[in-house]
């Protein structure tokens, strides 16, 4: 988390993500179905990128690959100049948990854990000690205005509230990169705006953000738009 320290500011232009000729296909006995083809993409630290495209064009797949939740079928992926496509699962987990926070369209909170416990979970995996953990969870609850809700279970919250928790959980470990897959897709526009403002603020504080969105308004929060169609990046 603190690995980059103060040099971060000086290296704003350094490439955080570098995808070279990424392909992804699913094959069954009969055919190979390409979901992504010839993807070349560079994202620099501090950018706020929006991925757009029709349903089924491969946006989620791309985001998952960037987030190391899924492996490409072909191509090279460098994260901070390190070759992700050559890494062991252990190393991947390590990299993933240190640098990346994920937000899903359908929130994906652990149903059996309270808001507080859901927030705490990434810190547990990062072996943050108990005192610091408590401090950070409290601080995050405060920042997201959810102190009163901390002992509720996900099914006791509205969709917007659940998504807030999901984002809070994504940022609590202070990731360098937040990946958000249609974070406002299931929300009213009012709630959606709140979420987007939050992401914007995080970006201004230095977090790199890649979001998938269908809305031009939301895309406008970012500083670059990438359009996918049938697995290709539209030029």
């Amino acid at each position: 988390m603190k690995i980059f320290g103060t040099s971060e500011q000086n290296e704003r232009t350094k490439a955080m993500i570098n995808l070279k000729n990424i392909e992804k296909y699913y094959e069954n006995r009969v055919i190979k179905t390409y979901v992504l083809r010839g993807i070349n993409l560079e994202v620099k630290e501090g950018e706020f990128v929006s991925i757009m495209g029709p349903s089924g064009s491969g946006k989620t797949t791309l985001l998952n690959i960037v987030g190391m939740l899924d492996a490409p079928s072909n191509g090279e992926y460098y994260f901070l100049d390190e070759p992700v496509h050559k890494m062991s699962e252990k190393k991947l987990t390590e990299l993933h948990k240190t640098y990346i926070g994920f937000v899903f369209q359908s929130y994906h909170l652990i149903d059996e854990l309270t808001v507080y416990e859901n927030l705490e979970t990434p810190l547990l995996y990062q072996k943050v000690n108990s005192n610091e953990r408590k401090g950070r969870v409290a601080e995050t609850l405060d920042r997201f205005g959810m102190v009163a809700k901390k002992d509720l279970f996900p099914n006791q919250l509205s969709g917007g509230q659940q998504q807030l928790v999901a984002i809070a959980r994504a940022v609590i470990a202070e990731p360098k990169l937040i990946l958000a897959d249609e974070p406002t897709g299931n929300l009213h526009s009012e709630q959606g705006k709140e979420i987007m403002d939050l992401l914007k603020k995080l970006n201004e504080q230095g977090t790199t953000i890649i979001q998938v969105t269908h809305s031009e308004t939301n895309a406008a929060y970012g500083n670059r738009v990438i359009r996918l169609k049938d697995g290709w990046i539209e030029k």
Partner: protein
């Protein structure tokens, strides 16, 4: 982190109350039965371990050839053997002689009892065996003739709360009476040679080579002495130089005290022994149950896990490494298994009395003072938890998080098909267990009805002592006044007791040809009351003087190669008598039904009865019994009256010797129930998974009946597949069991397996019907809204 896991574990348990409960309950039932069998196993292994250095104590056995070629080994030797051995071989530290009498009347004032198995022995008995003296002479209570040592409960029986020491008991074998010199604690239940009373042997008795019969010789070896080496010295020295042994070709050998209980089935003795085969069968079926229960536990565990795929994905996204997840899920499984342990201990306490009754009593089952057993139970429990957790843990944690998160409800195919395999194994194993149980039941029922060459019906059997001999004629006359009483006989034995062998040969052959043959002494009417049929010649009768007569079986005639046996003479070497064959009996079988048919002879030996048989016309009623009792008390007031029916006693003995059957039935049924529970859980989870499909089908017009059929047929198929897989194993096992264990064999036929299959289908149907009907009745709109 740990508390995070615990919370998720606990909340999931609560959310799936029914499954969690079934899961824990199933395992605890299996564990409870396993604990029972384990403690039973340990109890049987613990026989005579309470003596000091028990592994240094040996029984001297004697072996000789018998008529059908097999060596016959008995636990009986001659009285002087103990003294002779201890003087000749320095590696023997101590030796004792134990003579066991069959039945005697002992009394104190008006208290009068039959004592079964009084031990006549010397002062070394209490030095070799550990029966601590609790009152009286602690040093040598048996050093004087006519001293008696009682157990605490025997002392209580005669003397109540009075001090027994120095009191004089009357006994039918001693004119001077017995002086109680000491009281010892009751024999622990794990003793092969239990007693109520020990009496000192008359002086000079143990130099008498002439007294054969129920004499045991026990040796205690010096530390480090080699029993095998000692035994070979017996063969080269003792057997050849002692005339009695040499002439009758008896060889002495040693048998470890600790092995008597489980390993001496082929040694003729009066010890408390168990057939090790039955014992291992019980162990096998308990392990079978344990496997079924573990499979059940796995099935339910994997079911619980299918709903956890999403959690796995989220945890991975949150940074969980694979090993974190594996640990978490194995940990949960182990924790769940541990929760079954206290319940298992409670169930163990609960079913222990029933189990003890089922194995015939006389058994002490304790887990708490048996650290090894406790440890094994804990280890098994942890192992089941661990193994149940391992596959789901690795399976779930292997998912790419993307695929889990994308498909909001994961397929869980792998787990489902694993579950099917587990359910099939569970039912297959249960099939084998049920089939084996049915086979044993069939075998037992066959053995209880098989005709053994004599008739046991309607015979009132009254134990007595030799004293009856003088009164028999009067008793018979008195009893015959009742028209319901058909016949009265003097008997030495019960026709289904193990039987005794004696050395004998045809007149005109040398002592070298002498062989051991089953031989039964009897009194008047014995042959007729049992309706043993004569093939040739006659049975014993008052019209003749039969004191020198003998009757042989057709089998014996064949073995002696006698075409024309009547009038031929047989020499009974042990008795030093020559007897004339007066009849040939159709084959009869007195040893236990499980033994092979052998040649046998019956010789006339009046006035030494141990029983009086009274045969009634039709089943004896209370009035007839009262009549017999009244006459008995009138004719023989010194003998307590006690009776049983011969046929009942036969069935009882058969049951005792096949007592594992009840345990078998019990364990197999539990196993079937648990297998059904597993199927129930599988059905519920599948139904849950197919809620949407069922909804769509119903929306398209399928009836509840259609849906029920759809769900049931799938599971019935699983059970049928299991049955088919199990069939060859069950068949092979049944053939094997029948062939190794019995002489009179029941036939292994298809009906056995059809019944077993029907059993499993009924169990399966009842388990899944409830669930199938519930799903079928569900409202389709509700079902679809779920997704």
């Amino acid at each position: 982190m740990f508390s995070n896991y615990v919370r998720v574990f606990y909340r999931n348990l609560r959310k799936q109350k029914v499954y969690s409960f079934i899961n824990i309950l199933g395992l605890s039932v299996g564990l409870a039965v396993f604990i029972l069998v384990l403690t039973y196993f340990n109890f049987n292994l613990s026989f005579d371990s309470y003596h000091k250095d028990p592994e240094r104590i040996y029984l001297v056995t004697s072996e000789n050839g018998s008529l059908d070629g097999a060596r016959q080994r008995t636990a009986y030797t001659f009285l002087p053997v103990a003294n002779m051995l201890v003087q000749k071989f320095p590696e023997i530290a101590n030796a004792t002689v134990v003579r066991q009498y069959f039945r005697n009347v002992v009394s104190y004032n008006d208290k009068k009892f039959y004592e079964r198995g009084i031990l006549f022995t010397d002062e070394n008995f209490l030095k070799i065996f550990n029966y601590p003296v609790v009152a009286g002479d602690k040093q040598e209570p048996l050093s004087h003739p006519n001293s008696a040592v009682l157990t605490e409960s025997a002392a209580k029986r005669y003397f109540g709360n009075q001090d027994p020491i120095g009191k004089l008991l009357k006994a039918d074998f001693s004119s001077s009476g017995l002086i109680v010199t000491a009281v010892v604690g009751d024999c622990p239940p794990n003793s092969v040679n239990k007693f109520d009373m020990v009496v000192s042997l008359p002086e000079g008795f143990n130099n008498d080579w002439g007294v054969a019969g129920s004499t045991y010789t026990f040796l205690k070896l010096e530390p480090g002495a080699d029993a095998l080496a000692l035994e070979s010295k017996f063969h080269s020295f003792v057997d050849k130089r002692v005339p009695v042994l040499r002439d009758s070709k008896i060889e002495l050998s040693l048998f470890p005290l600790r092995d008597i209980h489980l390993k001496s089935m082929d040694i003729n003795s009066g010890f408390n022994i168990t057939s090790s085969m039955q014992f291992y069968l019980i162990l096998a079926i308990a392990i079978g149950l344990l496997i079924v229960v573990s499979l059940n536990f796995m099935i339910l565990s994997t079911s619980r896990y299918t709903n956890r795929a999403k959690e796995v994905g989220i945890r991975k996204v949150a940074g969980a490494a694979r090993k974190d997840l594996v640990l978490q899920y194995i940990g949960e499984s182990v924790a769940l298994a541990l929760m079954a342990l206290p319940l298992a201990l409670m169930l163990f306490e609960l079913i222990r009395p029933a189990f003890i009754a089922a194995v015939g009593g006389g058994v002490e089952l304790n887990l708490m003072n048996d650290p090894a057993a406790l440890f094994i139970v804990l280890a098994v429990d942890l192992f089941v938890g661990f193994v149940s957790g391992i596959y789901p843990a690795f399976y779930l944690s292997s998912f790419q998080p993307a695929s889990i998160i994308r498909v909001a409800k994961p397929k869980g195919r792998g787990l489902l098909s694993l579950r099917k395999v587990l359910v099939v194994s569970q039912f297959a194993l249960t099939f084998v267990m049920i089939a084996a149980t049915l086979l044993l039941m069939k075998q037992l029922s066959m053995m209880s009805k098989v005709y053994l060459g004599y008739n046991r019906d309607n015979i009132i059997t009254i134990p007595c002592t030799f004293e009856m001999a003088k009164k028999f004629d009067v008793l018979e006359k008195e009893l015959k006044t009742n028209p319901k009483i058909v016949m009265v006989a003097e008997a030495h034995i019960l026709p289904f007791s193990w039987g005794r062998q004696e050395k004998m040969r045809l007149e005109g052959t040398g002592k070298d040809n002498s062989e051991s043959v089953f031989s039964y002494p009897c009194g008047y009417n014995f042959i007729d009351i049992l309706n043993i049929k004569m093939a040739r010649g006659r049975s014993f009768s008052r019209q003749f003087n039969d004191e020198k007569s003998i009757i042989i079986s057709e089998e014996a005639a064949k073995h002696f190669r006698l075409d024309n046996p009547i009038g031929k003479k047989i020499i009974l070497d042990d008795r030093g008598e020559v007897r004339t064959i007066v009849g040939v009996a159709e084959n009869f079988h007195f040893p236990h039904v499980v033994f092979k048919k052998s040649p046998a002879v019956i010789y006339f030996l009046p006035s030494q009865p141990f029983y009086v048989y009274v045969k009634t016309a039709g089943p004896p009623d209370d009035r007839t019994v009262s009549f017999v009792r009244a006459k008995w008390n009138k004719v023989a007031p010194s003998l307590p009256f006690d009776y049983f029916l011969l046929e009942n006693q036969f069935q009882e003995q058969l049951r005792t010797s096949t007592r594992s059957l009840e345990v078998f039935e019990f364990i197999s049924i539990i196993s079937e129930l648990i297998a059904a529970l597993g199927l129930f859980a599988l059905a519920s989870f599948t139904a849950e998974k197919r809620t949407k499909e069922i909804g769509v089908r119903k929306a398209l017009g399928a009836s509840s009946g259609n849906i029920t059929y759809l769900l049931i047929s799938e599971f019935l198929l699983i059970v049928l597949v299991a049955d088919l897989i199990a069939l060859p194993f069950a068949y092979y096992l049944s053939e094997y069991l029948v062939n190794i264990a019995w002489i009179y064999k029941t036939d292994v036929n298809i009906s056995l397996f059809l019944i077993t299959a029907a059993f499993s289908i009924v169990a399966a149907l009842s388990a899944i019907c409830v669930q199938a009907m519930k799903s079928a009745g569900a409202n389709p709109v509700e079902a679809l809204r779920y997704e």
